[in-house]
């Protein structure tokens, strides 16, 4: 679990927002995340570079907020590489990492 969520970042988030509110934030992220990942795929399929960069940027930003550093790094690579460098495999890899983030965040919340 610690490999997926950085403890220091998580701790800072809890201190800043309060443990109860972090639960609400995680819930929101888990609701919004699939839509954001789909929007990234849609932008890739449509060849929309701006939408692709913006969605990758947004996923990176949220990943950093929750301490999901590996996920954030993958999203960042897509943001910086842009539409031209993105491959379906890279998108699949981000999606797989997301599944691990979901589990890790749910465990964090369940364990208080």
């Amino acid at each position: 679990m610690n490999d997926v969520i950085d403890p220091a970042a998580w701790s800072e988030l809890e201190q800043t927002a309060g443990a109860d509110f972090v639960g609400e934030l995680v819930q929101t992220f888990l609701e919004e995340g699939p839509g954001m990942l789909q929007a990234l795929r849609d932008a890739h399929a449509a060849g929309s570079a701006d939408d692709f960069r913006r969605n990758a940027h947004s996923l990176k930003s949220n990943g950093l907020t929750f301490g999901a550093l590996g996920f954030a790094a993958q999203a960042r690579a897509l943001e910086l590489g842009g539409l031209g460098a993105a491959t379906p495999a890279a998108l699949d890899e981000l999606h797989d990492t997301w599944q691990g983030v979901v589990v890790a965040l749910q465990e964090r919340i369940a364990n208080g």
Binding site: A17, F29, E32, H57, N62, L64, T65, R76
Partner: protein
């Protein structure tokens, strides 16, 4: 605007990401601020136009209108250009951050935002805004909001420019005698009432009170900001002044006090408007023949027993919209040639 007696301020969070909006809102509300949210730049601009905010926290990467475009629009908007903006983003390149600052952003906070840093930056930006607002308020109090706006838009520079406008001089007849027979406290109160009424009449018609000398006023219609139909506006302001004076006189009559009479002189034409004085102390004023003529006409009201006198250019500009009476050519002091003078008796 929010009261600054407490630390609370009205903040606008602009971010397309729901988690970011929630997190920032939470942090700012914990600091005691009122927070509104917008999910893109277009919505944010609409909200800023419609409401009063003390500070904006602005994301850059957003659909429809991004943060750079918002900053550009704000800097071009006279009312919003001083609204402080703290950019909150996770831009990857320094050039983007520099661009934000160049476009007028007050500060930049990198996401994820540290709570302590957020508080420090928000407090500092609000304090700077409070000082700027105080400074503007001082300028407004001692200049006029129009001059304050002119200073804000064009900056301060000694010198003038030629403008077409109308000048109005007004004062209370027999004020010196009145002062001698009235306690000083009552005189001050009377002057304040007189000024309040006259300012309202003048401001309602787009005029600017440029100078107050004792009981006398010098007003400009058409500078520093242009006023459409400035001659007619000045004449209608003078008629309102007379009407307001009648109301004041009714109150004074009921209190057993003497009646006030005023004289108003109005002239229209070219004048030189600008700042005169020194770099350290200056005033905004208008000079030229038009200004002198208006002052002479005001003085001439005493001779002819009329309340409002105007020059031929004002009379022509007003046309048939006011009842005027030609008093013939008059040799006014300081004028090389006689001037046709007209008395205004009321609106047609």
């Amino acid at each position: 605007m929010a009261e600054f007696q407490t630390n609370a301020a009205r903040l606008l969070v602009v971010d397309d990401n729901r988690v970011n909006r929630m997190l920032l809102t939470r942090g700012l509300e914990q600091q005691g601020h009122q927070v509104a949210c917008a999910e893109n730049g277009r919505i944010a601009l609409d909200m800023m136009q419609a409401g009063d905010y003390d500070l904006v926290l602005l994301d850059i990467e957003m659909p429809e209108m991004d943060g750079f475009q918002v900053l550009e629009r704000l800097s071009a908007d006279v009312r919003l250009r001083d609204l402080p903006v703290v950019v909150t983003s996770s831009l990857e390149d320094m050039a983007g951050v520099v661009r934000c600052i160049e476009l007028g952003a007050e500060d930049y906070l990198h996401k994820p935002i540290n709570g302590v840093l957020l508080k420090a930056r928000v407090d500092a930006s609000l304090e700077k805004k409070r000082l700027r607002d105080m400074q503007k308020e001082m300028v407004r109090r001692f200049a006029t909001s129009e001059v304050a706006q002119d200073l804000q838009q064009s900056g301060f520079a000694l010198g003038g420019r030629r403008v077409q406008g109308t000048v109005l001089f007004a004062d209370i007849r027999g004020f010196t005698t009145l002062v001698e027979s009235t306690p000083p406290e009552e005189t001050i109160e009377l002057l304040n009432t007189w000024y309040a009424l006259m300012f309202e009449a003048i401001n309602n018609h787009g005029g600017v009170v440029n100078q107050m000398i004792g009981d006398g006023l010098m007003c400009i219609f058409g500078a520093p900001l242009p006023v459409d139909d400035h001659a007619a506006q000045a004449v209608h302001a003078a008629l309102d002044m007379v009407a307001m004076l009648q109301v004041l006189n009714s109150e004074r009559a009921a209190a057993g006090k003497s009646q006030l009479r005023i004289g108003v002189g109005i002239a229209t034409g070219e004048m030189v408007a600008g700042y005169t004085g020194t770099q350290s102390r200056a005033t905004y004023t208008c000079i030229g023949n038009t200004v002198n003529l208006a002052a002479r006409l005001e003085s001439h009201t005493k001779e002819v027993g009329r309340m409002i006198l105007i020059d031929p250019d004002t009379c022509r500009a007003v046309g048939g919209r006011c009842e005027t009476e030609a008093l013939g050519a008059v040799q006014l002091r300081g004028k090389a040639a006689p001037v046709e003078v007209f008395a205004v008796s009321g609106a047609s």
